[in-house]
């Protein structure tokens, strides 16, 4: 749909995505012109925006990855997407802007149309908001997806989150995941907008499968008698957040934390006081795909010991429940959509604070921080 000199891998390099260069103040006119051009061919295009998505990137490669994610996401959650490449201030304050109208049609589905705007700028951080604000669609909520590690506490972080309704991060992409998770927890408590971590969304099926057995026999009512939680995490923050979830939901108090004896391997061992005694947790890390490779609970039931084990073979999850006096129960369920492996679309459908996540973040951060003390 769009043509012209596009967003390049570097100044003057070939385009990674075909966006048309435009002055910042003329973005809406360009997008309107593109829509009209295409209407001549494809009929009236109805832009369907349910939100503004501001993607903050630190460089062009990151912006291309973000645009690829938005491309996959657009068909599920069309937004006015503003990709902000905030480069370090240079001698000259420079703002370069590209834009395009995107339309996609899935098999048999409706044609979905959204806008993408890319801004590359060396404007000083405190003035970045002045770049973003004119590009937002009026009244629609603003989601800010900060790729990589946000500069927690910096002026640019405060300014951009101030104009956002929701801050989305992916803690798996943090430079120092455990330490940055603790910083995220402090930021979440301090800033006004709601905070989401895509890792948390990727944990959703795991949490569902681990919680489900407590809804019926033989484990009903035994959640206070969880004796151990063992998590093998591909994404360390996923393991910490999962343990944090148990702790916050079940009112556990952190007694002690120790790291693995082998400093080369990440492992967080902790002991918690629970309503029914103590629970030992361990989060180890390993290579693999997805958030976790397995999570296992040991529980004391009325009839004897029981266990819940969730594993992630390729493409699905397997939950196995064993309990004294019962046949082992095994269940296989689907994973999140392959079209959105990051889990961004789920975060764009949540408008208020996710209290469960925010509460889980506190013990997760405590675990991370205690281990790093």
């Amino acid at each position: 749909m769009s043509q012209g000199t596009a967003l390049a891998g570097g100044r003057g390099e070939p385009p990674g995505f075909s966006l048309e260069p435009v002055a910042l103040g003329e973005v809406d006119q360009l997008l309107e012109r593109q829509r009209r051009q295409d209407e001549d061919v494809n009929g009236v295009l109805v832009r369907a925006s349910v939100s503004n998505l501001v993607v903050v990137c630190h460089d062009r490669p990151a912006s291309r990855q973000a645009l690829a994610a938005v491309e996959r996401l657009g068909q599920r959650a069309p937004s006015r997407c503003v990709v902000l490449i905030a480069e370090p201030p240079a001698g000259r304050e420079d703002v370069r802007t590209w834009a395009r109208v995107v339309q996609r049609q899935t098999d048999g589905g409706p044609k979905v149309v959204w806008d993408e705007v890319v801004v590359q700028t060396t404007v000083p951080p405190r003035h970045l908001v002045s770049v973003v604000l004119p590009l937002l669609l009026p009244e629609l909520p603003v989601f800010t997806w900060w790729t990589g590690t946000p500069p927690f506490g910096d002026e640019v972080f405060d300014e951009l989150t101030e104009v956002s309704n929701r801050l989305i991060v992916d803690s798996a992409a943090f430079a120092d995941p455990p330490a940055d998770l603790a910083r995220l927890a402090r930021a979440a408590a301090a800033i006004t907008p709601a905070v989401s971590d895509c890792v948390w969304g990727r944990l959703t099926p795991w949490r569902e499968l681990l919680a489900a057995p407590f809804g019926g026999p033989p484990l009903r009512g035994s959640h206070d008698r969880i004796r151990s939680v063992s998590v093998d995490a591909v994404e360390p923050t996923a393991g910490l957040e999962l343990v944090g979830w148990f702790a916050s939901r079940l009112g556990w108090e952190l007694d002690e934390v120790r790291l693995a004896a082998d400093p080369a391997s990440d492992a967080w061992h902790a002991r918690w006081t629970t309503a029914g005694g103590v629970c030992d947790t361990v989060v180890t890390t390993s290579l693999g795909a997805g958030a976790l490779t397995k999570a296992a609970l040991k529980v004391d039931c009325d009839d004897g010991p029981a266990s819940i084990r969730v594993e992630a073979p390729p493409g699905h999850l397997v939950a196995t429940v064993t309990a004294t006096g019962h046949e082992p129960s095994r269940r296989r369920v689907g994973l999140a959509s392959a079209a959105d492996p990051i889990g961004l679309s789920a975060e764009l459908q949540v408008f208020g604070h996710d209290r469960i996540f925010e509460e889980a973040l506190v013990p997760a951060a405590a675990l991370a921080e205690a281990a790093s003390d």
């Binding site: 369907a48 349910v50 069309p78 489900a212 699905h316 129960s329 095994r330 459908q349």
Partner: protein
């Protein structure tokens, strides 16, 4: 135990933004090898499992006369899911896990021995698979088998009032009765076995996202409430149009017709959602009370008033979507002189303060030009238009269209200036399309409704008083038709928007009123 009870015991699911899974459940599909089980029920269960919405402790037993072993039943259902599941391709691992929880009992639903064997299996599920004594009976049967089946469940003690092991719920497919008298008989029979609160009468229309959006649209948008009444609304249209014919269901359709098939249930339920007062809460009984009030306020048509207010039609041969199709009387299992209606249009009045004098026009038909279900709220024209007649030729009164299927969304028709030096106005559509704003896959209505049964939420299921009131609205029409000569049938060709008399019906009180073309 309802959903709230489960959450109270389950701190790990309280407050989750994802829907909590239902409690342990053993489900019995009576008529488990039938068309509905193939097309809807089992594919819906598979998709619920795929999306992790079934409980950990969940077992299904299908039962019908067809001879199947468990493995044969699983293979048969695998084919059904491959053909009818909304998600494709089938995930092998998930299917195998789901199929391991599928079982089968061969036997007639009217044979007590069948339920004895089903009962043995359910006891086994409770003991070994923790289904907790919770039992869901889905009657996927032709209506004439309902009475013996319900009696069989009751007598066997495996469900209903006699069962005290956990909850016991029954799902009935429409039609609920053939007429008012048979509906009452069925209700009496059902409630001898199941208390009313355990009876879930499924109307899959009410499980559609776009039908539920009627509630969201009305009660989440304050700007429409002040004009949602007879002062501003000229009339309301509810259209349920199908391009297909009777699709090898001649035997059924010959005993039903469009008024029983669509008007008595889907169309009147949608009317109730449009016309109801705002409920105080969305607790099931609050919503159902308000819907029942609307149906109670429907003006009953009697005698000759039926002739003036209701039009019936039957399609003859014609062309639909570029294909030549036979007339109704040429369809298999249809009498060559059948007078069964394949089209109905009716004018209904809601006698209450809000809607006094505002007609609700309901129409449904088979072999119409396209498949479309929608509600049109046609507002009155502006009281004075300051533009010259020529300048406003293209202007029509505002209309709000709630499109239920297939292109779910909302259209608002408003007047706008035509660009140019003169002040000409014409109507334009503002469109909101579900598909382009919320492009996630919409769950099938059966998925939503099956989950609701398991968690014990009856909001989207018509309560008996609503069903009875709907029959009371329809029965006088059936009586009149039974005692008077039908119009000359067929009276519309396949591919037309119904008989001419339907156009005259909508215009009879106010010339210029016309059916919206979907």
């Amino acid at each position: 135990m309802n959903a709230h009870d489960q959450s109270a015991e389950q701190p790990l699911v309280v407050g989750e933004r994802v829907r909590a899974t239902p409690p342990p459940t053993a489900m019995v599909i009576v008529g488990g090898s039938g068309d509905l089980a193939h097309r809807k029920i089992v594919p819906a269960l598979y998709n619920l499992e795929l999306h992790r919405l079934l409980p950990q402790n969940f077992q299904v037993v299908g039962s019908s006369r067809t001879e199947f072993s468990d493995d044969e039943y699983r293979r048969d259902m695998r084919k059904a899911v491959e053909e009818f599941s909304r998600t494709q391709p089938i995930q092998q691992q998930v299917w195998e896990s789901f199929a391991s929880r599928l079982h089968y009992v061969t036997g007639s639903s009217t044979d007590p021995d069948t339920f004895a064997r089903v009962g043995d299996l359910l006891d086994h599920f409770d003991r070994e698979w923790g289904t907790d004594g919770n039992r869901l009976f889905y009657l996927s049967l032709i209506p004439k088998l309902f009475p013996d089946t319900v009696r069989g469940i009751g007598k066997s003690g495996i469900g209903g009032r006699a069962w005290d092991g956990g909850w016991s719920r029954v799902v009935c497919e429409k039609p609920f009765g053939h007429d008012l008298a048979s509906a009452r008989e069925l209700q009496e029979l059902l409630t001898k076995v199941f208390p009313e609160e355990d009876v879930f009468r499924i109307d899959h229309y009410l499980g559609k996202e776009s039908v539920q959006n009627i509630i969201a649209f009305r009660f989440a948008n304050g700007i429409f409430e002040p004009v949602w009444n007879h002062h501003y609304v000229d009339h309301v249209q509810v259209t349920v149009a199908e391009s297909i014919g009777i699709e090898h269901r001649g035997n059924f359709y010959e005993t039903a017709g469009a008024i029983r098939d669509i008007i008595q249930n889907h169309a009147l339920q949608v009317l109730a959602l449009i016309a109801m007062e705002p409920p105080g809460t969305f607790e099931p009984e609050d919503v159902r009370n308000e819907k029942a009030k609307v149906l109670k306020a429907l003006r009953r048509l009697e005698g000759e008033a039926v002739d003036a207010a209701v039009v019936r039609g039957q399609y003859g041969p014609g062309w639909v979507e570029g294909k030549q199709v036979p007339g109704y009387r040429e369809e298999p299992d249809v009498a060559p002189d059948s007078v069964v209606e394949t089209y109905v249009a009716g004018e209904f009045l809601v006698d209450n303060w809000r809607w006094a004098g505002t007609p609700f026009y309901l129409r449904t038909g088979k072999r119409l030009p396209k498949r479309a279900t929608e509600v049109v709220v046609q507002f009155k024209a502006a009281p004075h238009l300051p533009f010259g007649q020529t300048a406003q030729d293209g202007l029509e009164p505002n209309a709000l269209v709630l499109r239920i299927q297939p292109d779910e969304g909302i259209t608002m028709k408003v007047g706008a200036k035509v660009p140019g030096p003169s002040l000409e106005v014409r109507s334009v559509n503002m469109d909101f399309s579900y598909g382009t704003s919320f492009a996630d896959d919409l769950p099938d209505a059966y998925e939503r409704l099956l989950l609701d049964v398991m968690v014990g939420d009856p909001t989207l299921f018509p309560r008996w008083d609503s069903v009875e009131l709907a029959w009371q609205a329809v029965q006088p029409i059936l009586d009149r038709w039974a005692s008077s000569d039908p119009p000359e049938l067929p009276n519309y060709a396949a591919g037309e928007w119904g008989p001419k008399a339907a156009d005259e019906l909508i215009a009879r009180k106010r010339p210029g009123r016309r059916w919206r073309r979907p």
